[in-house]
């Protein structure tokens, strides 16, 4: 039975996958299309459709997530607009590179290899930081920790802020950074966004924190605000070339919109430090999945394609499951503590 031109089984798969990703997006402020695009590539969609539909999905999900974060006052609009300017140029260059590589018949392989190294590198970093237990990576939802934001600014960000190349821009959180540095970071993340078909959250959010030095909550909110535009512009450019498939985007979005609410609600319940290591492992899982798929293509082993898809879905399931499980456990402990106190 077909619905919207795809089988019912695939439709259910997309809604379920969107739900898992929505939980991750709502909780971490990142984790959208870096899972969707490889999954679509593994499922056999052309790279142009995988990238374009991934961007359109991220656009829709980021609209929903930004509306939630706007209410918390976690969006620096000035920084967001500057990031949009640099990102737009980067996306256009990234898209042109993909289209050029597609003409050469190399797009799928090169995008996949870049994914492997980027996801693997960031995954190793996040996992290492989580296991080290210094809590300096990822998203910290603890508002009390923001009071020590100055102490938490990474050394590299302090070095960047020390270069006074005018004009200097004052940002929320008492940060002052050169306009050119902001535009440079925006261009590079935009280029990766257009090239890989990602909203850029898992690259940009750490870049805003580690390179520009804005406090983590503002980095998340501003990043999401910016993803609305980068995802929108990117998917529009791909849609003009027939790269956006609504039969993929709409069911994914139906799931992720619900998941984003669950993930956002979980931020006020769960200590993220508990599951940061799972997030790092999920990135590593995504990296391994693309590597396995490429090995399958290279050696002509079809079963590796299935293994790759299982790795991607399993990684998303593991981490979003950890978020939900930790939320339920925290709620029960809170209830138990209240009951105990009343006794």
């Amino acid at each position: 039975m077909d619905v919207f031109g795809i089988s019912l089984a695939v439709l259910v798969l997309f809604v379920g996958f969107g739900l898992l990703i929505g939980v991750l997006f709502g909780f971490f402020g990142m984790g959208g299309s870096f899972l969707v695009t490889p999954a679509l590539l593994v499922m056999g969609y052309p790279s142009r459709v995988a990238v374009g539909s991934g961007l359109a999905f991220v656009f829709g999900t980021s609209v929903i997530a930004t509306l939630k974060h706007r209410d918390l006052g976690q969006v620096d609009y000035k920084l967001g607009v500057l990031m949009i300017a640099g990102t737009t140029a980067g996306i256009e260059v990234g898209k042109e590179i993909v289209l050029h590589l597609e003409e050469l018949g190399m797009a799928g392989s090169i995008i996949s290899v870049t994914y492997v190294f980027l996801l693997g590198g960031i995954g190793l970093f996040v996992t290492y930081e989580a296991l080290k237990g210094d809590g300096s990576s990822g998203v910290d939802h603890d508002a009390a920790a923001d009071a020590d934001a100055d102490d938490d600014i990474p050394e590299i960000a302090k070095t960047i802020q020390s270069y006074h190349v005018p004009p200097m821009i004052s940002l929320r959180g008492g940060v002052s950074v050169s306009l050119w540095m902001i535009l440079g970071v925006a261009f590079v993340t935009g280029l990766l966004s257009g090239f890989l078909g990602v909203g850029g959250g898992f690259i940009r959010m750490p870049a805003l924190f580690y390179l520009i030095g804005v406090p983590v909550p503002i980095a998340v909110g501003t990043d999401l605000f910016e993803i609305v535009f980068s995802g929108g512009i990117g998917s529009f450019l791909y849609a003009m070339d027939g790269g956006v498939d609504l039969s993929i985007v709409l069911p994914l979005l139906a799931g992720s919109a619900l998941g984003a609410r669950v993930g956002s609600a979980a931020t006020s319940i769960v200590d993220e430090g508990e599951i940061k290591v799972y997030f790092g492992l999920m990135l590593l899982g995504g990296s391994a999945a693309v590597a396995v798929r490429e090995a399958g293509i290279f050696y002509g082993i079809d079963v590796l394609n299935t293994v790759s898809l299982v790795l991607i879905l399993g990684s998303a399931l593991l981490v979003s499951g950890a978020v939900v499980y930790s939320s339920v456990t925290a709620l029960r402990e809170e209830s138990g503590a209240t009951t105990h106190a009343l006794d």
Partner: protein, 49 residues
């Protein structure tokens, strides 16, 4: 009736992105309503289970 295929690529792309945006807004409002109706009840049920 407008034939989508006869529109320029930019208009078609705009319509596609508009459809995604419209779905996002409908889902935001719709799920928000559901959350208001069953959210607290669900949390209380989890706490008491």
């Amino acid at each position: 009736m407008i034939e989508v295929g006869t529109l320029s690529p930019a208009v078609q792309a705009g319509a596609l992105i508009g459809a995604v945006l419209l779905e996002a807004m409908i889902l935001y409002v719709g799920y928000g309503f559901v959350e208001q109706v069953v959210g607290n009840r669900l949390i209380e049920r989890i706490k008491s289970s």
